[in-house]
Each structure stands twice: as structure tokens, then as C-alpha cells.
């Protein structure tokens, strides 16, 4: 009986509360519902870059939606955004979506709810955020793509990323250099790996690399023994290392039982390590493998000579550039001029490109001169 | 030469809540005998054996057990096994996916340095199998064995534990003639090795064939002890002992007015779904008149239920042949729903597992076999449902405060009334009731008999399947007897008595001739 009474009190209390909320919520809603309506009408007309022209308070909320924390670069980004946004006086909401699209959609919605002025999005799938980002646009929020292009929506104001085609070119060139340095004279037996197809950067990496590699394949210097040269054949779903390793295993057992593999194009470090591990297990000499992201473990592997190269896309540069844009928006100076523009299927998006760096054992100390964490690995 | 007593059970009394299952039972078994225990279903035979084997631990019953000269007090079945008592249940308990060796040594593995010593186990299994007369590979999986062979393996398992006293609970109920003969042969062999057997059985012909002594139990009491060697077993004597109670005034008097034959089953043949080749209905023929209550008597496992369920939309078994006529018209019933549509209703024997969905309320149960009757358009008319349930509740006198209560809250008798109501709502021509009063108290039984009679008075054909002979004698107009899938005879109420029925149910020699049986059938029709 006592329990029941307690329950009934809760119920009554909740009813009263909901009535009270009806009252006070009413006033708030009434004024706020009129204002954005006018504004949103205005924002449709104005260019996206100009939407934040009025600036906003220095302690405003900034949302950062990251795809997951499964690789080092995202983990670093997560920490850097937290500390640097806080240092700049903003209130930061940094969330990751466990690589699930619906989760990220809801997180972005909750950032809109939380009154974020700018939302930085590292998308799980660059083309599946359309309606959510349009909601953000309607709420007058500036959306900045981080590291990956966001496609298929008008609700995007700019993208900060390393030039992805350029990155690919660097990877391809590093592979060629490595083969020449380590494997004597050609022809070389190589295999190609691509990144996650849902990430719009992945095909670009591949494209960039192939601009360097294709002429050498055509003139016979490079031989893709498996014959798998299309991006869709080489792609690694969800950038999943284990899938790459499985593919490498089957390539080695299927095509290299009597041959030696000399080099592998790898789109990132995790996949590079998977490839190297598979090769070791198959009893092959370690091939020349490219990489990306300069993850700690790969930096060590490069230092010890297991992995030939990686491409550093220093997360601090990316985060720094993003925060620079946010500060510019806060000050009311709008989006800075982009490096270039690309079409995302719906609209032209300003791209702020940063230049990546190739890292090999030779130049590692110079590249990481300022990065104490990675420098410590070079022993 | 008087052999020594191996077992004396004295004054065994076992109480279950509300029931005195065993009442001062005495049993004396001599070493090396084959001792038969017989009695009606529910007389207390299995309870007695469970007391003996320690399933009911010492202290949960009263009385004294003296085994091989010592008073014993088993706390569980393990202790009785250690003392050399093994019980082989009616349902075999071996694991089908394991081999004979693994089953025989299950829980009793021969271990050498923590590993199973397969060689020893296999060698010993082969020896044991030889002793029970089986010549098969000890590595054979149990599921590949026939029932008879499985039973022999069970016995081999008992022998592996150095059994002195072997209890067999209705050992031949699942066996064919050859297997039964093998089993008896083995039992005689065991006897020559001085191993005592207690066999629970209804089958008088078997008892006559093999038993050295017989104890009859009825209503939880020892009624009679016979010794075969002191004169031939008198089957009449056993039958009288098994049933020997007068039919009290527990049945409402009723005057039936049977009309035309409205339900007729001819040459009904059905195969057992689990054992290919075994027929569970062997060319059965029977009929029921309008307004007539017809009983089906038979011991458990005789195939009564299987017959009824196969008629009810081929719900059981594999249909091989035969026809059903209702009101002279042959009907095809390939599914339960078509059987219901054509006017057959079947109230299953196991109320809780087959008759009811215990999650449901009374009102949902009441309409569940005839939802069509409460449709309005395509939707169920819940008001009508309520009305129907209310109406059935009051006419059947179901004791509950609301038709919205769950059926699980009702007593057995009231549950059965709800089930009856459910089937009456399908407005059947033929109502088959399988054990309609099992587990129901005397008062509720009386009400259910009245209901059954009322249905007959409405001109319905009613079939009652029951293991209780007094019940059948008390309420049916005519009684068929079933033995091993065959209808062995039919008796009018006036000429029937328990002894005659029991003889037909157990297929004893005196009523075996075919001519006599057919003669009886004609006589009545």
C-alpha cells in the first residue's frame, strides 16, 4: 500500500509538473518560434558562407561529432578538440558514434538541441546525414566537415581536410621510391588496397596513388599479380583491418605460393600493419608498404624497418585549422576563403586543404621534431 | 524349496498433499523370483517402486524396508543403485546422441589418470551386451537402436552396476511380440543367475507366462498375493482383485434415447509417427448413435488417444486408410480446422499441455476454437465474446468472479468446464472426451457427468475415453475395448462389468477368438 501511495504521488507530481512546464515553456516558445522563422527565411537566400556573419558569444557551444575512436587519429582529434576548444573559451560537446549512422544523426540532433553555434562533423558515412544537417542549417548553425567530405546535402558550409588526391599521390610515390630502394631492379610484384568505400576520401586516395602507379604498371615495371586493380575490388569495408588482413591472406595463398611480393599500396597504417602481418605469417619477406596517419605503432615499425613509409596528416594541423575557422565565425568575420571548391552532389562546398607529409625512416626525426609523443617512439 | 526373501516392504504409507497414495502396503519378494505387480492405472505401483528405489527419500514415507536382511534407508537413487537395486522406467532414459558404451558408463566412467579409459569401457560393454543377448558394436549410437534393443541396453547398464534387484516398469508397453519374447528370455536368464526381477505390468497374459509371484495393488493397498508355483495363476482372480470395488453412487442416473447412427469410422489405419511400420490403429471400426454415450476402455498405451487424435483432423500419426461418416455422409478431414467445421470436437486428455493456453483468460479460451462465430465483418466482436463467455460460464457453473480471469487461476474441475464450454461453442455433432475427469475432485466429476449427459440428450454423439472402468460403466451406454491399437470388442452397458472389460482390454486368451468378437459386434448393431 505504501508503495502504491508513493507511485501515485509521483504521478500526481508529474502531472502538475507537466502543467507547469506547459505554462513556462509557452512563453519561451512563443517568442523563439517567431524569430528563427524569419531568420531561416533569410538564410535560405543568403550564401552559406555568410550565414554566420553576425558572429556569436565567445562562450558558445561548439559540437564535434566524430565517427568513432577506433583509430589513433580520431582519438587524438577527440582529445585535441576537447582541450583546444575549452582553451579558446568555448563549451565543447565532443561525441563519437561508434561508427553507426543513426547514432551520429541523433548526436548531431542533440547538438542542435544543445544550442551549438558550429557543428564539426567527421561523418561515419558522408552521404547519410542529409536531412539532419539541413535541420542544422535551418537552425542557423554553421556545419564544418572534418577530414571527410560530406555529400548529398546543402547543409554544409565547408570542409577541412588534407588534400586526399594529393595524399594518394604521395602514397604511390612513396611505394615506388621504397621499391627502388629496397627491392633492387624491377619488375616488382605488387598488390593494391583501398580504404572504406563509405568514406569519400578513400576513392580519392586510390585515384591519387594510381595516377603515379598506373604508368609504371603500363610499362611493366609494376605487376599486379592478382589483377585486382579496380577500387571496388581493392576496397576495405569500413576501413576494417581484419578484413584487409583476410584479403591479404587469400591473395598470398592464391597468387604468391611461388612468387615473392615486393610491395603493397596501403591506404592507412592499420591496414598496412595488417598487410605486413599477413605477409610475415605467409613466410614472405616483408614487402614495401605505404601507409597513412602516422599511428604510433606504425611509427615504431617504420623506425624498425618493418613498414616502409606512412603519410602524416598531423591531427593538430587539422584541428588547428578547424578551430581557426570557428574563431573567425565567432568574431563575425564569416568563413575564410577556401583553398578550392568541390561539388558534393547538391552544392559547391569550400574545401580548406592542408598538405600531408611523407614519413620514412630517413626523415622521421625531422617530421616529428615537434611531436614529443612520437619522437619518443624513435628509439 | 523355499527361497529366502530378498525384499520385504512393510506397512509402507506415502502421503501426497490431499492424497494417500500408498496405504500400509506390504510386499515380499523372494530371491531369484520374477515378481509381477499389477493394478489399475493410479493404483500406486509406480509410487511403491519410487519408494523402493529412493526417488522418495527415507523419511518422506512411513514403514520399513528390509533388503537382503538389513533395514535400509535410501536418501536418493544413487544409494539404492549402490545397494544393487536398479529401475528401468517406462520411458527410456538414455541419451540418443551418445554411443552404447558412453550411455552405459554415463556418470560412472572408468577413469585412468583423469582420462576415460575407452579400451576397458568398450571391452566391458561388449561383455555386458553379450550377457543380454545383443550382438552389436558398442560404439553404435543409441538413436540407431530399436526400442527393444534400447531396453536391453538399459538392462545391460543395470548389470554393469552389479544389480541384485531389477525393477522393470511396464517393460513391454513399447515392444512388439518378438522383442517381448526376447526380453522374457533374458529375464529367465537373469533368474538363473539369481538376479531378482520386479515387473510392473497390466498384461495378464504376460504375467501368466513369466511371473513366479504376483502382488495386486488397488487404491494404494495390497489386495492379494499369489504364488504361481502353488497352483496356476487364476486370471479371473487377479482381475477381481484389481478392480474389486463396487461402483458407488457416484454417477448420475440417466436414461439414454439413442437415435440414428450419426458417426461411423471404418477400417481406420494409422501408423506411428515415430516408429515406422508400427500401426497404432489396426483397421478400427466403430460407430456412435445420436444421443448415445460411448466409452472407450483400454490400458495406457493401448492406442485410444492416438485413435481419437488421428480421427480429429489427422492430428496424430500417419494416416494410411479408412473413412469417417457423419450422418451417413462421408467426410474428409485433413486438418483440425476442417474436423471442427464438420462437427467433430475433441477435448484432449492433458488439460494443461494440450487443452489450454494457460496464459489466456476464460473469455479468450471460450471462443478460441470458433472465432468465426464472433466475427463482425473482419473484426472480432469483443462484446459478443464477452456475452458468449458469460453465457457459458453461467450455464456450466464455472466458479470464478470474472470471465476476464486467467484460466490458470481456476481449479482443475473448473478448467475442464471451461474447456468443455469451448468445445460446446463449436456446436459439434460428435464430441470426443479424452479422460474428461482426470485430476478432478469427486464433486466436479459429478457435474461433468451431468454435462456429458445433457449433451447426449441434445442429440450429440459423445465418445468418452477413460482409464477408469467404473467411470465408463457408470456413464456409457456402450463400451468399446482397445488393446494394442485394435478394437477388441464392444459391450452394452447392461452386459458389461469390470472383469469382462479387463479381460478384453488385456486380450487374455479366453476372449481371443475373432469369431466371438465379430459376433458381439453384430449382436449390438
Amino acid at each position: 500500500m505504501k508503495k502504491k501511495k508513493c507511485l501515485s504521488q509521483i504521478l500526481v507530481a508529474s502531472l502538475i509538473m507537466s502543467m507547469a512546464l506547459t505554462g513556462c515553456g509557452g512563453a519561451r516558445q512563443a517568442e523563439s518560434s517567431a524569430a528563427p522563422a524569419a531568420e531561416s527565411a533569410a538564410s535560405v537566400a543568403s550564401a552559406p558562407a555568410a550565414s554566420g556573419a553576425a558572429g556569436f558569444a565567445a562562450d558558445s557551444t561548439i559540437g564535434v561529432a566524430l565517427p568513432w575512436l577506433g583509430t589513433q587519429n580520431w582519438k587524438e582529434a577527440d582529445e585535441m578538440f576537447r582541450t583546444q576548444l575549452a582553451a579558446a573559451g568555448f563549451k565543447a560537446i565532443v561525441q563519437h558514434a561508434d561508427n553507426k549512422v543513426p547514432q551520429q544523426q541523433q548526436q548531431i540532433e542533440s547538438m542542435i538541441q544543445n544550442g551549438a553555434k558550429v557543428i564539426v562533423v567527421g561523418p561515419v558515412d558522408g552521404s547519410q546525414l542529409g536531412s539532419v544537417l539541413e535541420e542544422a542549417k535551418a537552425a542557423n548553425i554553421t556545419v564544418i566537415g572534418y577530414d571527410r567530405l560530406i555529400e548529398n546535402t546543402t547543409g554544409i558550409d565547408g570542409v577541412v581536410q588534407f588534400g586526399s588526391v594529393k595524399t594518394g599521390e604521395l602514397q604511390g610515390q612513396a611505394l615506388l621510391d621504397g621499391l627502388a630502394a629496397k627491392k633492387g631492379k624491377g619488375p616488382y610484384n605488387i598488390e593494391l588496397f583501398g580504404g572504406g568505400p563509405a568514406d569519400p576520401n578513400a576513392p580519392n586516395f586510390f585515384k591519387g596513388a594510381m595516377t603515379v602507379l598506373q604508368p609504371k604498371i603500363d610499362d611493366g615495371t609494376l605487376v599486379v599479380v592478382s589483377g585486382q586493380k579496380d577500387f571496388t575490388q581493392c576496397a576495405t569495408l569500413d576501413w576494417d583491418n581484419s578484413k584487409a588482413q583476410a584479403r591479404m591472406d587469400s591473395l598470398l595463398s592464391g597468387f604468391y605460393s611461388k612468387k615473392e611480393i615486393d610491395g603493397v599500396l596501403s591506404p592507412n597504417d592499420g591496414i598496412a600493419r595488417a598487410i605486413i602481418t599477413a605477409s610475415e605469417q605467409a613466410g614472405q619477406k616483408i614487402p614495401v608498404v605505404s601507409g597513412l596517419d602516422a599511428e604510433n605503432e606504425s611509427v615504431e615499425w617504420i623506425w624498425s624497418g618493418k613498414q616502409y613509409s606512412t603519410v602524416a596528416k598531423p591531427t593538430d594541423l587539422l584541428v588547428g585549422k578547424t578551430i581557426e575557422i570557428i574563431k573567425s565565425l565567432q568574431a563575425g568575420s564569416g568563413m575564410p576563403a577556401p583553398t578550392t571548391k568541390v561539388n558534393n552532389g547538391k552544392t559547391d562546398v569550400g574545401v580548406y586543404e592542408l598538405a600531408p607529409l611523407v614519413v620514412t625512416k630517413e626523415n622521421a626525426k625531422e617530421v616529428f621534431a615537434k611531436d614529443a609523443g612520437r619522437l619518443a617512439l624513435l628509439k | 524349496m523355499e527361497r529366502p526373501l530378498i525384499l520385504q516392504m512393510q506397512g509402507i504409507t506415502k502421503l501426497f498433499p490431499g492424497v494417500r497414495a500408498l496405504d500400509d502396503v506390504t510386499l515380499e519378494v523372494r530371491q531369484g523370483d520374477i515378481h509381477a505387480i499389477c493394478g489399475e492405472n493410479g493404483a500406486g505401483k509406480s509410487t511403491l517402486m519410487n519408494v523402493l528405489s529412493g526417488v522418495y527419500p527415507h523419511g518422506s514415507y512411513e514403514g520399513k524396508i528390509i533388503y537382503m536382511g538389513n533395514e535400509i534407508a535410501f536418501r536418493d537413487i544413487k544409494e539404492s543403485e549402490r545397494a544393487g537395486i536398479a529401475i528401468i522406467h517406462q520411458e527410456l532414459t538414455m541419451i540418443p546422441e551418445l554411443s552404447i558404451t558412453e550411455n552405459i558408463f554415463l556418470g560412472n566412467e572408468t577413469v585412468n589418470h583423469g582420462l576415460i579409459d575407452w579400451d576397458t569401457e568398450r571391452r566391458r560393454t561388449a561383455e555386458l551386451l553379450e550377457r543380454v543377448g545383443l550382438t552389436i558394436d558398442p560404439g553404435t549410437l543409441i538413436k540407431h537402436l530399436g526400442v527393444g534393443q534400447q531396453q536391453l541396453v538399459e538392462i545391460a547398464k543395470a548389470l554393469s552396476k552389479n544389480v541384485r534387484l531389477l525393477i522393470l516398469d511396464e517393460p513391454t508397453s513399447a515392444l512388439n511380440e518378438t522383442d517381448s519374447a526376447n526380453l522374457f528370455e533374458l529375464m529367465r536368464g537373469l533368474k538363473s543367475r539369481d538376479i531378482t526381477c520386479i515387473m510392473i505390468s497390466h498384461k495378464l497374459n504376460e504375467i501368466a507366462e513369466i511371473a513366479d509371484a504376483v502382488t495386486v495393488i488397488r487404491d494404494g493397498r495390497t489386495v492379494e498375493n499369489f504364488h504361481v508355483k502353488e497352483g496356476q495363476i487364476d486370471e479371473d482372480c487377479i482381475i477381481r482383485a484389481m478392480v474389486g470395488r463396487s461402483i458407488e453412487n457416484r454417477y448420475p442416473s440417466h436414461e439414454s434415447n439413442p437415435g440414428e447412427v450419426i458417426f461411423e469410422v471404418s477400417d481406420w489405419r494409422v501408423e506411428d509417427p515415430d516408429i515406422p511400420g508400427r500401426l497404432i490403429c489396426k483397421d478400427s471400426n466403430f460407430f456412435v448413435r445420436a444421443g448415445e454415450i460411448v466409452g472407450f476402455a483400454g490400458l495406457m498405451g493401448a492406442g485410444r488417444t492416438e485413435l481419437m487424435r488421428s480421427i480429429f483432423g489427422r492430428n496424430y500419426g500417419i494416416y494410411l486408410g479408412g473413412s469417417i461418416k457423419i450422418k451417413g455422409k462421408e467426410i474428409r478431414v485433413a486438418s483440425v480446422s476442417s474436423a471442427i467445421r464438420q462437427g467433430i470436437a475433441y477435448v484432449p486428455e492433458d488439460r494443461k499441455n494440450l487443452g489450454l493456453n494457460l496464459i489466456d483468460t476464460i473469455r479468450i479460451t471460450t471462443v478460441s476454437a470458433n472465432l468465426k462465430a464472433i466475427l463482425r465483418g473482419r473484426l472480432l466482436d469483443l462484446d459478443k465474446e464477452f456475452q458468449v463467455a458469460e453465457q457459458q460460464r453461467s450455464s456450466l457453473n464455472v466458479k470464478t468472479n470474472s470471465v476476464n480471469s486467467g484460466v490458470s487461476t481456476l481449479s482443475g474441475g473448473n478448467q475442464q468446464k471451461v474447456v468443455l464450454g469451448k468445445w460446446m461453442f463449436t456446436e459439434p455433432e460428435v464430441l470426443i472426451l479424452d479422460e474428461p475427469t482426470r485430476g478432478i475432485d469427486v464433486g466436479a466429476k459429478y457435474e461433468i457427468y451431468r454435462l456429458i449427459q445433457k449433451l447426449a440428450d441434445q442429440g450429440k454423439a459423445v465418445i468418452i475415453v477413460s482409464s477408469e472402468l467404473p467411470e465408463l460403466l457408470g456413464i456409457s451406454d456402450r463400451i468399446y475395448t482397445v488393446f494394442e491399437g485394435s478394437i477388441t470388442g464392444v459391450l452394452n452397458r447392461q452386459e458389461a462389468n469390470q472383469e469382462k472389460l479387463m479381460r478384453m482390454m488385456t486380450n487374455t486368451s479366453k476372449l481371443d477368438s475373432n469369431s466371438e468378437r465379430t459376433e458381439m459386434l453384430y449382436e449390438i448393431s
Binding site: 507537466s18 544550442g115 568505400p197 | 473484426l379
Partner: protein
Amino acid sequence: MRYLKKVLGGGLRQYSMVIALVALTLIFNITSGGRMITSSNFQNLISGNAYVLVLAIGMLMVIVIGQIDLSVGSVAGFSGMVMALAARDLGWPWWLAVLLSLAIGAAAGAWQGFWLSRFGIPGFITTLGGMMIFRGGVIWISKSISVPAPTELKVFGSGYLPEWGPAFTGMNNSTLLLGILAIAAFAFTQLRRRKRSAALTGKTEELWPVVVRIILVAVVIGYITWIFGTGRTGTSFPIPGLILVVLVIIYNTITQRTRFGRHVYAVGGNKTSAALSGVNVQKTYFLTMLNMSLLAALAGIMFVGRSTAAGPSDGTGWEMDAIASVFIGGAAVSGGVGTITATMVGGLVMAVLNSGLMLMGVGADRTQVIKGFVLLAAVAFDVFNKQQGRASIIGRLFPAKEGKPQEANPASSDS
């Protein structure tokens, strides 16, 4: 206390999960600084979870028949992808692509139902197979790349009802109309039920509790209507929410008021007894599995509409969300028990939990942990109640199946 009971038309226990839902919403509203109970968040809550709730409708029926469907996420992803591809590569109009997608869903369900009903292969196995088949299929046909969907579909995933009529109402008039309709429908059914039960039982229920009940529910619906209706101009009660409400009404009627619905419960409660009552168990299995995949296809379409593109990993893990909703809603693992409306409450509890934790800035990792505990607690609570020999609390949330009043779900009660 006694009066309250009269108003609610039964024990308070029946409403424990609804109370939990309300309490959770209020608590989150406080902890998130008033960001929980806002127009836009409620709209998000509905559009962001409608597809899971649509799945949960089908899953409830599957679980009631004593089976489980692990393939719903994959089927949703697959049929969504087929739709997007048909529209983009074959140039089909969007509605034809939608119909194709639904047909694919139905075919997938028929496939799984066939193995279950014809060969008795447990649903767990057939749908585990389906999960792999259709997940592989979606990756295969999409070549692992997201495919943009026809823009018209956005309406199904995140669209809003039109604005019309006078401005003085201060809110979206479509939403207002829906609210008024819901209140009217509730009042009508309540009054009619009172009249009917008087005619049936001869006992007239007092009028005042009915009136109080109607007023209370009207206030609640009115408040919810007001929240949904007063968002940004151009927003309203979301269209995916409307689709959901319509489905809930339809399926509540199917499960509670049709022969098929009765058969579903009968088969789940006691298969043998159902077969002996003339229920075609195989057919019931088949149709329930078919229906599940059909709804999965619909959920896939709604999600693609919201995402504006179909992706290769769409639907991953959705089956678990749907299953969790059903069990939080008090369905029994052994089958036979559960209602659509209670399942919806279960799903909303999960949704509110998700949304509230996100608003508080709790990460996906910890959210997952908390949701896991809530699921366990809800089911343990239910099991505990049953073991005490009392009737299950959560299962009796909405006693519609037992023929008692259904007032707790105004929008979907029969009319």
C-alpha cells in the same frame, strides 16, 4: 487513492512503464537544462526512432509466436538499397521503387517463413542465415558505396505535415487537428465503452471517473500536441511519427481484434493446444515472419528517407534495438505474451534514454552500458513479479489482450 484507481480503471501497477517513461523524460529535462521537452527534440525523438518502433511492431508479433527474427536490420538495409538503386540506376519513379522495396521485404519474409513453417527450422537459425544473406547482399549490390535516394522520400523519413489555416492558433494546424481527433476518438471510445459495458453487465460505471479520465487524457494529448505543434514554422508532428501511429492502430487492431491476431497469441502460448483448437500453426508462423520482413522494408525506406542515401551498413544492429523494445515492453521470452502498445512504450523508454543521455553529453560507450542495464532491470523486474506469484506488472501495462479497458493508449485504441 481509491478515486485515483477508479479514474485509471485498474491498478496503478499497470502503468509502471508509462510512469517510468514520464519520470525519465522529466528527469532528463531537468538534468539537460530544459532541452528534453522541446518541440524540436520531441520531433527528433520521433523521426529518429520511428523506424526502430516500426520494426518493434513486427518483432512483437514474432516474439509472441515464440520465435525471433535476427535478420530485420539486414532486410531493412537490403530493401532500402534496392529502392535507391532502382531509382538511381534504372530511373524508376520513387513510388515504384518503394513498392519494389516492399515487395523485396515481403519476399524475404516469405523465404524465412517458408523454412520455419515448412521444415520447422527454428526462426533463430533461418533469420541468422537471412541476416548474413541480406547483409552480404546489400554490400554486394551497392559495391559498398552509399547511394543517394530520391528526394521525395525525405518526407517519409523526416518530413512534416503542411501548414494551413488560421495563424491565431499559434501552432501547426495539422498537428492541432491530429490532437483534436485523438482526444475526440478517446472520449468517444470511453463513453461508448461505458454504455456498452452497462448494456452487457447491467452495472453502470459511475460517470465522473470516465469524465475525469477523459479530461486527464485530453490534457496530456493537448500538451503533447502543443509541444509538437509549436516548433519552428514548417515543422509539426513528424510524418514518420504519423506513419507509426497509423501502423500502431492497424496492428493493434490486427493483434487484438482479428482471428489472425488471436492465432498469433494462441500459437505462442501453447502450440499444441492451438493446433488442437483448429489453428493452422504453420500458416501463422509463415504470415508472421512475412509481415516482419515487410515492416523491415518499410523501416528501411523510412531510414533512407531520413538519411537521404542508402548505405551499405544501414540496419546494422537494429534487430537488437527492436528486440530490446519488445522485452522492455513486457513480452515473454517464451512467447504468448505482449502487446503492441506496451512495446511502443518500451521502445520510447529506450529512445528517451538515448536522447537524454546524448543531451547530457554522455558518450556512445556509456550510453550503451546504461541501456544494457535498463534492459536487464526491466526484464528482471518482470520476471521477479511473476515469481512472486503475482500477475506480471509490465505485461499488464496494457491489458487490452485480457479484454480490460485500453485507455492508456488513446491514439491507437479501437474506434
